[in-house]
């Protein structure tokens, strides 16, 4: 059975049904969409259970010719790196749709956009053909643009256009690089193809790798977003509807980090190694800077948005540690960030629905009114802080161990981020949930509804699960990550070979030693 295609395109089938529904029957549209997304999630579960953890090769592969004259195929597959990102997407989708119940404007169009978005996102993670990848990559941009631009806050147009242009700028360079790879491959092998697995075998010169790496990295760095390409994120998050923020933080940002792992590292191993200092420092600055700026925000969504910059910095640092702990930690943290930050946006959204404000100063003392909500919020906050026993810690600590192994200095600076995380999250929590109630409006607040309970509970369960028994996730990554390291490891060897050569040639051009011998 074409499992992957089913998961990817089932939402589109759902769209087909919704198209024929009466747009006035909002409840029907909502329930249908929810059901479709739940079915997609159920359909994606066999990917986990039938996944062979010992194989590094792509699994559930489907390959059909699409545009044969250009060597373009519909070629999809999953490995231990993309597996959990797909599951994260299908897991977050029903939750996001359930969190969109309050949307009353153009419900039908909204739900269609959500479902198309899901297809685009899953498509990105499974594509093994770069042309196909690019199609999905751009496809998911459009519904997100609409979600922000139509269902967003007051400055939604500015935010939507900013989001779109930022991402497009990077994408254009990536497209150029993809085409370049296409022709380079033709020159080397004689056949035209966009097959990623073929491209992996290319041996590119360092100069070519260097420029192609930059082109890809720019697209991904904007998506991550890495400092200093992050300024679209706070605007997009603040304006996006709750579900939009959840998907944006939970899945879309992971496209960037995933892109680095899937494309930059194995395609351009030597260039990737050469870029370790650049990327790592950008990541470290992002960690500290994101945390500090997050600390002083007075808008809850902005605070969470900047905290994402900090968290994603950790992920990038782990990936560029080039060892198993760093990369497995990075992938785990991609999932964790999707869960915790997704949950944080949901929590903020629940507050917003009640009070129509996101300003921290408008809250305070909510625990007395909303004890169950407070418990959920607290767990999510602690997960984001990286408290041991919850999910965030597993990823964060592995990343730091991996980084520490390769560069002690980077890890030492980055570790200070865990102090700052406690500062900005707990300070926020204190101002929102503790103290006496100072605003009259807050005295009427109600605790979580059944729907909200159903939204948060699954997230909390997974947060504990990953924190206490991460093996059920980590073990499925081992083979793929080890393979990735082998792919890039060849790069390491050649780099060190280059450095060795340099060292050997050094004495011959060493002017000082020559002049010394003359004086003697």
């Amino acid at each position: 059975m074409p499992m992957l295609s089913l998961v990817t395109f089932f939402p589109v089938i759902g769209v087909f049904f919704i198209l024929f529904m009466d747009s006035r029957r909002k409840e029907l549209v909502r329930v249908t969409t929810l059901l479709v997304s739940i079915v997609v999630f159920v359909l994606s579960l066999p990917l986990y259970f039938n996944f062979n953890a010992h194989a590094y090769e792509m699994q559930f592969v489907e390959k059909l010719p699409w545009i044969p004259s250009f060597g373009i195929n519909y070629h999809v597959g999953v490995d231990g790196i993309s597996l959990f990102l797909i599951l994260l997407t299908t897991f977050l989708m029903p939750i996001s749709i359930l969190a969109s119940w309050h949307i009353t404007k153009h419900v039908k169009e909204y739900m269609i956009a959500m479902l198309v978005l899901e297809t685009g996102m899953v498509g990105v993670f499974i594509s093994l053909d770069l042309f196909l990848f690019y199609v999905f990559w751009e496809l998911m941009l459009i519904p997100m643009y609409l979600l922000i631009g139509i269902w967003g806050g007051p400055r939604r147009i500015y935010a939507a256009i900013k989001f779109f242009l930022y991402t497009m700028t990077g994408s254009v360079f990536m497209l150029l690089a993809i085409i370049a790879l296409y022709f380079l491959n033709y020159r080397a092998t004689g056949n035209y193809t966009f097959n990623l697995l073929e491209f992996y075998r290319l041996e590119l010169s360092f100069a070519v790798q260097f420029w192609l790496f930059i082109a890809f990295a720019l697209a991904f760095a904007i998506k991550v977003p890495m400092f200093p390409f992050h300024t679209w994120l706070p605007d997009a998050h603040v304006e996006a509807p709750t579900a939009g923020s959840v998907i944006l933080a939970g899945v879309l940002l992971k496209m960037g980090t995933y892109g680095f792992v899937r494309f930059c590292l194995p395609l351009f191993p030597e260039a990737s190694h050469a870029f370790i200092p650049v990327i790592s420092w950008m990541a470290i600055v992002g960690i500290i800077y994101g945390a500090l700026v997050s600390m002083v925000q007075d808008d809850l969504k902005k605070l969470v948005a900047y905290s994402s910059v900090s968290h994603l910095g950790f992920i990038m640092l782990g990936i560029f540690a080039f060892n198993i702990q760093g990369i497995e930690g990075g992938i785990t943290q991609m999932i964790n960030h999707g869960l915790s930050t997704g949950a944080l946006f949901l929590v903020v959204g629940m507050l917003y629905e009640r009070r129509h404000t996101r300003m921290i100063a408008d809250f305070g003392g909510l625990t007395r009114q909303m004890p169950v909500f407070a418990t959920f919020f607290m767990i999510v906050t602690l997960s984001s802080i990286g408290l041991p026993g919850l999910n965030g810690f597993v990823g964060e600590f592995l990343i730091l161990v991996g980084t520490f192994k390769s560069r002690i200095l980077y890890a030492s600076i980055a570790t200070s981020g865990i102090i700052l995380a406690a500062v900005y999250m707990l300070w926020m929590f204190q101002r929102v949930m503790f103290h006496e109630i100072t605003h009259e409006e807050n005295k009427k607040l109600t605790d979580v509804s059944k729907r909200e309970f159903a939204i948060l509970l699954p997230l909390i369960i997974v947060i504990f699960w990953i924190g206490i028994y991460p093996s059920s996730f980590l073990r499925k990554m081992d083979a793929s990550v080890n393979h990735l390291l082998r792919q890039t490891g060849e790069g390491v060897n050649s780099v060190s070979r280059l450095q060795k050569q340099n060292k050997q040639t050094m004495p011959q051009i060493d002017i000082v030693s020559e002049t010394k011998t003359e004086w003697e």
Binding site: G329, I408, I418, A422, L426, Q430, F434
Partner: protein, 642 residues
């Protein structure tokens, strides 16, 4: 019996989960007895494990219980596995034993509180976390417990979250502990990099096989990083600032934090890693120096404080300083011994002070107390025993352990350690008796409103007091010189690094066998002098203290304001960070520079577009003109271009 060890953790966890999920729907009594029962059962099992361990020959007293695989990635392996050895058994007995009494006391103390079930849920979680900390068999699992006690202290200090001071104190406790945890986490990473393992057994056996020479840089770094963690948890300079504020929580919580859990974690960790610490003389010097300076520093602040719990808080910091002094000079057993006796009398003192506060309907200022002795006799007697124990009067618990530390500081360390430690002991005796006299003796300064409600606490509160008073009395005999049971028991873990050799050396006549006895006499004399001074100032001549305070106004103010350390931290770390983050990073770099250039580019593209738009006029004559100009240009270039 050793196989039962997992149950020790399981009971408090069950208590936490039930009270956390269903506590609201349960009856108050059920909630309280459930929580107490959980810890009580845990204590029973701990005792059984202790018996089980005793049945093994001393050299084989190490039992590991693998539960499940936790974090594994490549060569980095951290299992969820427990370890029972003499050191962890001593710890679990103290934690569950004292913890149980504190739970029992809480039933009465917290009876009227709205968050009754929440309180017991956190309290059980606290004990669970601490047990995990001392039972884990590797550094990372220990780190869970390490951070989790931080979390529990956050939850409990901020228990009355509607009070701003409480939630501030809670946040401060968590963040300051995080600073320490930063060091601890880096230490774990360095251990992994150095030893390729984070299991206690593997790391310490690698050390004992002599793979590292004394004073090695890596080991020094590891031990220093771990020590940063210890200064956070065990409230030593420079990270002690959270502990005095931690009294914002309910009083039994203070007892739990100060005695059985949390602050003992740092001492335990260093004792656990004694093999590593002994390899680094530099770190040992740092540990001992920080310890003795903290002991003196905190004692001096304790002299002038007027809040009954605040005095006790500073005394805790000071006493912890002694434990670090002991560890720093290599007398780990003495450190653990003092940890144990301190757990008894400090829990007693806090609970008794809670009983005083309870009796006075919430009053904590000792200037508004006095003469309470006849009104609350049981509280008075038990408080007296605790005070005598901490002041170091034989044969009470604190005397033996503190005397042990001072002796070791002199024999293994140097005269400076001893004299500073002895001076701090003088201060301790003074401020503790000042506290006692001002609270229970002299004229009654209680306002009549509180006086009407003045009453002795109920049985379930006084019973734990009596039990702890008993322990404070006999606790010292576990480590009495000559027949030191504790030392023999701990020897397999803390090894020859204990004080056997010193005793041996002492009795062999290097210093003369009289030294320990002379030291005992001196220690007792010091304590008596402190008590005498307090008696003179607060009973005999009550006006004297005021006069002294006026005479040395600057010093008094400095001490009263705790050396302005909080203010200094605010000025150096907190305010500049906030200011720079807002004024520079956010408003300038983010909004102006990065976003400014992004919007600038967009604006530029727009401008260029609107300029170029003028070319597209729509008039054919204009386009014809452009074509002609173009043709001419091409011709000119073609003719003259080469």
């Amino acid at each position: 019996m050793l196989n039962l060890v997992a149950l020790i953790l399981l009971f408090p966890l069950i208590g936490t989960v039930i009270n956390g999920l269903a506590g609201k729907r349960l009856r108050k009594e059920t909630v309280g007895y459930l929580a107490c029962g959980a810890i009580g059962l845990s204590f029973l099992v701990s005792f059984m494990v202790f018996i089980g361990l005793l049945q093994l020959p001393p050299d084989e007293r190490l039992f590991e219980k693998h539960l499940f695989r936790w974090i594994e990635s490549g060569s980095f392996i951290s299992a969820a596995a427990l370890q029972v050895d003499p050191l962890s058994v001593v710890m679990i007995l103290v934690i569950t034993g004292v913890g149980f009494l504190i739970h029992l006391y809480s039933i009465g103390y917290m009876h009227h509180d709205k968050g009754y079930h929440r309180y017991f849920c956190y309290l059980n979680l606290f004990v669970f976390s601490m047990l995990l900390l001392v039972l884990s068999n590797n550094f990372l699992l220990m780190f869970i417990g390490w951070e989790a006690v931080g979390l529990c202290s956050y939850l409990l200090i901020g228990f009355w979250f509607e009070k701003k001071s409480a939630s501030d104190a809670a946040k401060k406790a968590f963040v300051v502990n995080r600073v320490g945890d930063f060091g601890f986490a880096l230490g774990i990473m360095l251990i992994f990099l150095t030893f390729h393992s984070i299991d206690f057994t593997e790391v310490f056996s690698a050390v004992s096989h002599g793979n590292f020479e004394k004073g090695s840089f890596t080991v020094t770094m590891i031990t220093l990083l771990l020590f940063i963690g210890a200064t956070g948890k065990s409230a030593q300079i420079p990270l002690y600032t959270w502990l005095p504020d931690a009294m914002e929580g309910p009083t039994p919580v203070s007892a739990l934090i100060h005695a059985a859990t949390m602050v003992t974690a740092g001492v335990y960790m260093i004792a656990r890693c004694n093999a590593l610490y002994l390899l680094s003389p530099f770190t040992m010097t740092v540990v001992a120096s920080i310890g003795v300076i903290t002991a003196l520093f905190a004692a001096s602040v304790g002299l002038v404080q007027n809040d009954i719990k605040r005095v006790l808080a500073y005394s805790t910091i000071s006493q912890l300083g002694y434990m670090f002094l002991a560890c720093g000079v290599g007398a780990f057993t003495a450190g653990v011994f003092h940890l144990m006796t301190h757990a008894f009398f400090k829990a007693l003192l806090f609970l008794a002070s809670g009983s005083v506060i309870h009796a006075l309907s919430g009053e904590q200022d000792i200037r508004k107390m006095g003469g309470l002795k006849p009104h609350i006799p049981v509280t008075y007697k038990t408080f007296l025993i605790g005070t005598v124990a901490i002041a170091g009067i034989p044969p009470f618990a604190g005397f033996f352990s503190k005397d042990e530390i001072l002796l070791e500081a002199l024999v293994r360390g140097n005269f400076i350690y001893w004299s500073l430690g002895a001076f701090a002991a003088l201060l301790t005796a003074f401020y503790m008796f000042r506290l006692l006299f001002m609270t229970f003796h002299g004229e009654c300064r209680v306002d009549h409103h509180a006086m009407e409600h003045l009453h002795e606490s109920p049985k379930n509160m006084t019973l734990p007091l009596v039990a702890l008073a008993g322990l404070s009395f006999v606790g010292g005999f576990f480590g009495i010189p000559g027949a030191n049971a504790l030392e023999h028991f701990l020897a397999p873990v803390l090894g020859g690094h204990g004080h056997t050799e010193v005793r041996g050396a002492v009795s062999a006549g290097h210093h003369g066998a009289w030294l320990p006895y002379l030291m005992m006499v001196i220690s007792t004399a010091i304590a008596l002098v402190g008590i005498f001074l307090a008696y003179q100032m607060y009973i005999k001549k009550p006006g004297l203290s005021k006069k002294l305070a006026e005479r040395f106004r600057l010093i008094h103010k400095l001490l009263l304001n705790k050396y302005y350390v909080d203010e200094i931290y605010d000025a150096i770390f907190i305010n500049p960070t906030k200011k720079i983050s807002t004024q520079v990073l956010w408003k300038v770099i983010d909004v102006r520079m990065i976003d400014g250039s992004v919007n600038g580019i967009a604006w530029l593209v727009g401008r260029i577009g609107s300029v170029l738009r003028h070319l597209q006029t729509g008039y054919i004559r204009n386009y014809a003109f452009y074509i002609v100009v173009g043709c001419i240009l091409i011709i000119v270039l073609a003719v003259f271009g080469r």
